[in-house]
Every structure is written in structure tokens, then in C-alpha cells.
Amino acid sequence: MNLPLDRVLLKKYVGQSMLLFCSCAFALFAFAWVRVWVVSLLDMGQFQTILEQFRDFEKFAPIEFDSLFTYPGRTGMTYDEPIVILCVVIWAISRGSDVVSGELGRGTLEMVLSQPISRTRLLCSHAAVSITGLALLCIFVWAGIAAGIYTTSVSETVPTPTIRIPFLEIDVPMALGEPAKQTLALSDRVDVEIYAASTFHLFAFGFFVLALASFLSSIDRYRWRTVGATVAIYIAQLVMFGLGKATESLSYLLSMTFFSCYKPQKMTSMIGKTDSLWSPWSLTQPINETSLPPLYYPLILIGLGMIFYGAAIICFKRRDLPAPL
């Protein structure tokens, strides 16, 4: 199959986006690494005590708190950190909004399209660079986590042997004094591979936002308006997600927001529960009775993104391109 890509355009878009990519990649890699290191600093027992204070707010959390009392669970929280989401969203919106309205605003589309290149080819070349960049950014998050896991050690309290008193059902420690502590590598507790599915979720999430921004860009002529519209939709969806989680009466909103399909931590906890690295990739086994099989969620985001890209190509091909202002 002959892909509608143009080598020269690809080179141009790579050059154009290189600075943003390097900045985001560095931020994501460093943050993910540092975040894993921070996880090792917090004593699990203390962390549990802190979290127990917020049990009432558990419904707002992406997963049940109990999953967070494990190293894999706490490390997996990286995928829901605002900095990670922000970097991915910045990449998606800035690249997506650039494709038509950005080039139109700068006036460069006129010269590029004066060359024998179809609008579909232009859009696809831009999308290829943006999507590849997004995939690499997600891999950088994963790589940052891996770097953190392989370079961090954790200190754990060794459980004291106990003896249970019959009839009273009380556990009595068999040793007196300070409990013993042991230091071990985090990689002994956390397997990096369990975050493959979470990374894929992050990619699907970014792809959806990227495609949405590209679609809005293809029908607009001002980049600021494209960015504004994308951010407005993003915030509206986020509010719907929050409201849907907050009250039972508004829970129907959860089925109308794309945030419901972003479940990276759920994937991590699934692996913990099923002891199978492949469980998040299932298209047949639902997460629980009321939900879909886990792979459906990122595929929904990617599917919607493909629809947006398709709509962007159609709109871009049909529209008139105004002269630069």
C-alpha cells in the first residue's frame, strides 16, 4: 500500500516540532524517573495511614486505594500525574492545531500548497510526525519509569514472626525490640513490563486529543481559536468526568466523556490481581461485571481519533483556503 506521505514534508515537520518534542521528552523522562524515586522515599506504612484519611474520596480516584498500597500501584500512578498528562496534551494540541489553522495563520500553507501536493498528503504527513512523536513521548514515560525502577532501592520492614493464641485469636510477636529493616532493589518488587498497557492507554488518550485538535484545525483559520476550542472541549469532558464520579444521579455523564476510557492504573491493578501480563490486552474478558474488556477502552479512543482524522481530511479537502491575512 502506498502511504500518502511526503518525505520532504516529513522532514520539515520533524524540524518544526523538534524543540517541543525534546522539551516534552526530557520533562516526561525526568519526571517519571524522579517520581519513582519519590515513591521509594515514602514508607509504605505511612503512605497507607495518609491515604486512609481520604477514604471518603476514593470514588474520585481512578482505582481503589488498596491498589495504591503496593509499589506497582504507586508507581503506576505516574500515568495520572498532571505533569505527564499536561506534557502529552501540550504536544497533542500544539501539533494538532498547527496542521491547517496554524499554517494558515502563519501564511505558509499558501506556499506549501502551491507545490504539487494533495491536501490529504499534507495532512497525513503531518499526522505521521505528530503520532510518531506522541508514541515516542509515551515510551519516554515508560523508559523514565524503567530507569527509576532499576536505579532505586527501597527499605522495607521485615514482618516480625508472630504466634496466634488459640481461643483468643490474638497474634503476639515472637521478638521484642525494633522491627528489622531490609533494603532491596525496587525492581525486585516491580516488573517494568506491567506498564506496557498503561503506556498504550496514555498513547490512546494523546491520540484522541491530537486527532480532535487536528480536526478543529482543519475547519478553522485561526490557531488560537483551534487551541481554545480544543481546551474548552477537554475541560468540559473533564468536568463531566468529575461530576459523573461525584454523584450517582450524574453517573450517566461518565459514558459521555473520553476520560472514562483512560484507565492506566486499572491496567496495573488488573495485572496484580490476575498475575498475567496479558490480561489488559484482552478483547473478551471484561475488567468486571459492569465494564468492557480492557483493550476496548484504548481502542475506543483510537477509533474516535481515526474518525476525527477522517473528518479532518474530508473537511480540509472540501474547504476553501483563504489568502493569508
Binding site: 524540524g15 518544526q16 499558501e110 506549501v112 500548497l113 489568502a323 493569508p324
Partner: protein
């Protein structure tokens, strides 16, 4: 001066080059935005070897016509063919055979001048980097500078170097000399004439009447979205306007000259009358007749493009050459 000589010299050559099939043809081409007619029922033909000028005030529809020819805009009515290809449905193929300089050419700001030349030379199948570099040298452009740091004139020179690189059969230039100093303007017009001498067809839109006079062999006038007048420059060369003063209040035109002269009498307060004669063709028979009239303060001037332009601009119909309305 050289340009004018060259133009006169080549008029007959151009006539010979003309083929029956037009290079560019529009039939009732219209573009409407709501109630506003940006272009209405425009029918025009450009033949091989023509240097075709487009004249008209701002908002007359010149750029709209060009943008319709290149597929940037979709026509509301009518159709246009360029080199036998449909301008709307085969716009990529059209742009393979046409190079276009937009009225406000903007180039990727992150690139250096030479990078821009390379980028566009690689993009166009007929691109020729060395030729573009030669044009840049001829226009005294430093291609090592980054586009972001170039002045408006430098950017225009760079865009011209991009456009004059590929040897396409048709060259469309929208205000090519805007923002350029007189020396470079002359160099650009020389490039246009060289393109014509190489057998290429040129469509040139400009507000500078002298440039059109120096380079074009055919001119079309647009006003309020309509093509209101079209003329051959060779017809214009044989037109003159004589202004003089007489004491009488009427002038008898000999029957053999009546179809080649227009007389206007403008009585003055002191009993004198200003006489204005617009003549067509050889001046010799007119001079004999004028000698028999009792005229004073006689002044002859060529019937320049300015006169036609003013007439068209003010809505008067001018009886020179072909008229489409």
C-alpha cells in the same frame, strides 16, 4: 527602456507562438461568499507565450481568480482548465505544471534561505536548486540568513527565487515586485521576459501599471469581481490623445477618419474650448487634418494604460480592443 524595446520586438513572436488551444481557460467562473460575489462570470483565455496581466483595484477579484485556478478555492459556478486539466478536480496535476508566487508569500521561519530553496526544489518535480540559487544571487539575496530575521523585501526575493526555479509551462505571479527596490524590480521583470522568451506563459497580477506595460502583451481589467475589459497591448500602442484649445464650438471630422477618432469638447468661461481627440491607428492622416484646424496649445500623449485603467475604475466603458462586457 530596454524592456520596452524587447516587448515591441517580441510582440510578433508572441502572436506566432499562440496556439489554438488556450493554456488557461475560464468559463463563467464565479466565486460567491454569501451575498458577496468575489468573482462573477469570469471568462478568459490565456494562450501559450502570453504574458497576461491582471489589473484592478484592491478587492477586484484578481487573487480570487488565481486561487480558483490553483484549487485553493472551489468555484461556485463555472469551470477553469489549466493546460487541459480541470483546475478543481485535478489541482495537484495543475500545480505540477504551474509555479505560483502568492501576493503575500510567507515561508517557514525556522529555516535558512538556502534551506527554503532546497525544501521547495525537492518538493517540486521540476524543481531546480541551482537555478533557484542563481535567481537568489541575481536578486542579491543572502541565503544564509534565517527567514525569521529577513526583511519583507528579502523574503519576497527568496519567494521569487523559489518560484523562478522550476521550469514549468505556466508561471503565475501575484504582485511579484511588491516590497522590492527599483533595481530588483527591474531584475524581476527581466526574469519574467526571459521566462516568456523560453516559451513559458506568464500570468501577472500587479498594481504597478508601468510594469504591466513593460511586460504584458495582453491585459484584463477586473472590477468588483467582474472581468470588465480585456485588451491587447499592441492596440494600446497605436492610441493617442491630443489636447488643444480652439475658439470655435464645434469640429468637423472628415468621414475617412470618423471611425478612428473620438472628439470631446469642453467649453471654457473665456470663450475658448478645450478639444480632446482620442485617436486610433497611424497618426499621419490625423496630423494633416489637425493642421487644418485652428488649434493652439496642442499636446500629444500616448493613450497609456493609466487612461484605460482610470476609465475602467470609474466605470466607463472603453472602446479599445476586446471588451467582455
Amino acid at each position: 527602456m530596454n524592456l520596452i524595446k524587447e516587448k515591441n520586438h517580441s510582440v510578433s513572436q508572441i502572436q506566432k507562438k499562440k496556439t489554438i488551444e488556450p493554456i488557461l481557460s475560464c468559463e463563467n467562473l464565479s466565486k460567491q461568499y454569501g451575498d458577496f460575489h468575489a468573482l462573477k462570470d469570469c471568462s478568459v483565455k490565456v494562450f501559450g507565450g502570453d504574458v497576461f496581466g491582471l489589473l484592478g483595484p484592491n478587492g477586484a477579484g484578481k487573487t480570487t481568480l488565481i486561487r480558483l485556478l490553483l484549487g485553493y478555492l472551489h468555484p461556485t459556478h463555472g469551470r477553469a482548465t489549466v493546460l487541459g486539466l480541470d483546475a478543481e478536480s485535478e489541482s495537484v496535476a495543475v500545480r505540477r505544471l504551474v509555479t505560483y508566487l502568492p501576493g503575500d508569500a510567507r515561508l517557514p521561519r525556522h529555516m535558512r534561505g538556502d534551506g527554503v530553496l532546497k525544501f521547495f526544489a525537492e518538493m517540486h518535480p521540476l524543481g531546480d536548486l541551482q537555478r533557484s540559487r542563481n535567481v537568489a544571487d541575481r536578486l542579491e539575496l543572502n541565503t544564509k540568513t534565517r527567514v525569521a530575521f529577513m526583511s519583507t523585501g528579502m523574503r519576497q526575493k527568496l519567494a521569487l527565487a523559489v518560484v523562478l526555479g522550476p521550469q514549468t509551462p505556466l508561471l503565475i505571479l501575484d504582485e511579484p515586485t511588491a516590497n522590492l527596490d527599483p533595481t530588483v524590480r527591474a531584475a524581476v521583470l527581466q526574469c519574467v521576459l526571459e521566462a516568456r522568451d523560453e516559451g513559458r506563459t506568464v500570468m501577472l497580477s500587479s498594481h504597478v501599471l508601468s510594469e504591466i506595460e513593460e511586460t504584458c502583451n495582453r491585459v484584463a481589467f477586473l472590477r468588483r469581481g467582474r472581468l470588465v475589459h480585456e485588451l491587447q497591448m499592441i492596440d494600446l500602442a497605436q492610441r493617442h490623445r491630443m489636447t488643444a484649445t480652439t475658439v470655435g464650438d464645434s469640429i468637423n471630422v472628415p468621414p475617412e477618419l470618423s471611425d478612428r477618432v473620438t472628439v470631446r469638447l469642453n467649453p471654457q468661461t473665456k470663450g475658448n474650448t478645450i478639444v480632446q481627440l482620442d485617436t486610433a491607428g497611424d497618426l499621419k492622416p490625423f496630423l494633416k487634418w489637425i493642421d487644418t484646424l485652428s488649434l493652439s496649445n496642442i499636446r500629444f500623449e500616448p493613450y497609456g494604460l493609466r487612461t484605460v485603467y482610470d476609465s475602467v475604475h470609474s466605470g466607463e466603458l472603453v472602446s479599445i480592443g476586446e471588451t467582455s462586457e
